[in-house]
């Protein structure tokens, strides 16, 4: 894939298994967002193709099978939370039952906020409503381009957990961009490591054997080894550990 004459992604061939949570990690400008936009069909690769469930991404538009959470929540500013979900269902040609909307809002922790317009919502509430909108029609693929980047670590943790729970329940595949390797190890089943400067082939790592990482706990040895391997791929160097420094004024 080249953008503005510069090759961004090169020689990339991946197969993401159904139901996976694939985190895309890499340094800034390496092509994480470009990869996600190619998968969504919002960018056309210079050469090559993207296939989702045997179809090009464009064929899935309008069915609710493919959802995208952008960095901004991109809510409809003139609609309340309830109206947002009603319009989403209407655009997919589905009836908007009150019970179903209540359930969705409560699922993302927005019960009682159904009459709120986006301008009255916090960044976290907007992200929650965007999640509810994405899961309105049980997507088979959800793409997330750092939608929680503007949130504090606790809220981000909470929303990541929420999305992964909904992913498991809906059985959908989630592909998400993050800068945080530890976050990727905690919530992903697979990691796509984009090497800095296209120096190495892109790797898809299966984290299936990795032990679960509890919130706030230190990383087990296997996770530490995986973290170092990922950092070596994406940054091109091994991390420096156990540094002690003294500053003399």
């Amino acid at each position: 894939m080249s953008l503005g004459g510069r090759t961004v992604l090169h020689n990339l061939s991946l197969t993401i298994p159904s139901g996976a949570s694939a985190a895309v990690v890499g340094v800034s400008g390496v092509g994480k967002t470009t990869l996600l936009r190619c998968v969504a069909g919002l960018l056309t690769p210079t050469t090559g193709r993207v296939i989702i469930n045997g179809q090009p991404p464009g064929a899935l538009y309008g069915q609710g099978a493919l959802a995208f959470l952008f960095q901004e929540a991109c809510l409809w500013r003139h609609l309340t939370a309830r109206q947002t979900l009603e319009l989403t269902l209407k655009l997919y040609g589905l009836p908007a039952h009150n019970g179903e909307i209540e359930k969705l809002l409560s699922r993302v922790g927005l019960s009682g906020f159904d009459s709120y317009y986006p301008h009255r919502m916090s960044v976290g509430m907007k992200a929650r409503l965007a999640i509810a909108r994405a899961f309105c029609v049980a997507p088979s693929v959800l793409l997330m381009d750092e939608p929680f980047a503007a949130l504090d670590p606790l809220r981000r943790l909470d929303l990541n957990r929420q999305v992964q729970t909904m992913r498991r329940e809906a059985g959908c595949t989630v592909m998400w961009v993050t800068h945080d390797v530890v976050e990727a190890l905690q919530f992903a089943t697979h990691v796509i490591a984009l090497p800095h400067g296209n120096s190495k082939p892109v790797e898809l790592l299966d984290l299936g054997t990795l032990p679960a990482i509890a919130d706030g706990a230190s990383l087990p040895a296997e996770a530490l080894a995986m973290r170092d391997r990922l950092l070596e791929t994406i940054v091109g160097d091994t991390p420096v550990e156990d540094v002690s420094a003294e500053v003399v004024g």
């Binding site: 969504a40 919002l42 538009y61 309008g62 069915q63 609710g64 493919l66 959802a67 995208f68 952008f70 960095q71 901004e72 991109c74 409809w76 500013r77 003139h78 609609l79 319009l87 989403t88 655009l91 997919y92 317009y117 986006p118 301008h119 009255r120």
Partner: protein, 256 residues
């Protein structure tokens, strides 16, 4: 913590009202200070007496100019919205016509008034035309900048839903452009009154502009001051109408 609503507290309102009363009082004293000043400047009391005494004619002029201004603003709005959409959605047309339009703004539109009256005659059409011409540009530039600033991600959300173009315009473009559109309208509202009055200076059977123009020739300060006051009230009323329209959009717009 203070916000814009602080200016509406009773103390601020009282201070504003006191300044207004002081200005009117000073104006009244000055207007009645000597015979020569009385010939040039009408005091507030004399102006009000004049309007009461000539309520029919003054009211007719007020309504006539008001109608021309409102029609001018409506025409300007309709053309600015249509042309703005064409400029954005057909970039080739936009890239040719928009710079020309910007360049055309170097012509002071009031200089065109005599020519416009010659072409349209002394009836209301020339006044509506000039009023529309003067209000068109601020609305257009704001609408174009509003449409261009719609976030691409918001449109892509709709693309993934395969939403029809009409739905994208209704739920993404229009709500996003409202701030820009009304910013243009707030500038265009008083300009539309200026356009109508300037056109009336150049030939009219009736109107506030004609009254002001004649008053200078006849040395009638009461008529002049009532015309000036009528122009100011008209501008304020049309501006208020625009604000009222904004309020009608709902809490999502004015609460933000």
């Amino acid at each position: 913590m203070t916000d814009s609503r602080t200016v509406r507290d009773p103390a601020t309102l009282l201070a504003g009202a006191s300044i207004a009363v002081a200005i009117l009082l000073g104006w009244e004293i000055l207007g009645e200070s000597s015979t020569s000043v009385r010939l040039l400047l009408s005091s507030p009391v004399r102006t009000v007496s004049y309007v009461i005494g000539h309520f029919g004619e003054a009211g007719q002029s007020f309504l006539y100019t008001g109608m021309e201004s409102l029609l001018g603003l409506a025409v300007a709005t309709a053309f600015a919205l249509a042309f703005g959409a064409v400029c954005v959605y057909h970039p080739r047309i936009g890239s040719i016509s928009f710079p020309l339009l910007v360049a055309s703004q170097v012509i002071p539109l009031v200089c065109l008034a005599p020519m416009i009256i010659l072409v349209f005659g002394p009836g209301p059409s020339g006044k509506v035309f000039l009023s529309a011409l003067i209000g068109f540009f601020p609305i257009l530039t704001n609408v174009v900048s509003g449409i261009r600033s719609v976030p691409s991600a918001s449109q892509e959300v709709m693309l993934l839903m395969a939403a029809p173009k009409a739905q994208v315009i209704r739920h993404v473009v229009i709500p996003h452009c409202m701030d820009h559109f009304f910013a243009g309208m707030r500038i265009a509202a008083p300009l539309s009154v200026i356009g109508a009055i300037v056109a009336e200076f150049n030939g009219a059977d009736i109107g506030v502009g004609k009254d002001i123009f004649i008053s200078a020739k006849r040395l009638e300060p009461e008529l002049m001051m009532s015309g000036i006051a009528a122009g100011a009230i008209l501008s304020g009323l049309i501006y208020g109408l625009v604000l009222l329209l904004e309020r009608r959009l709902g809490p999502w717009y004015w609460e933000r």
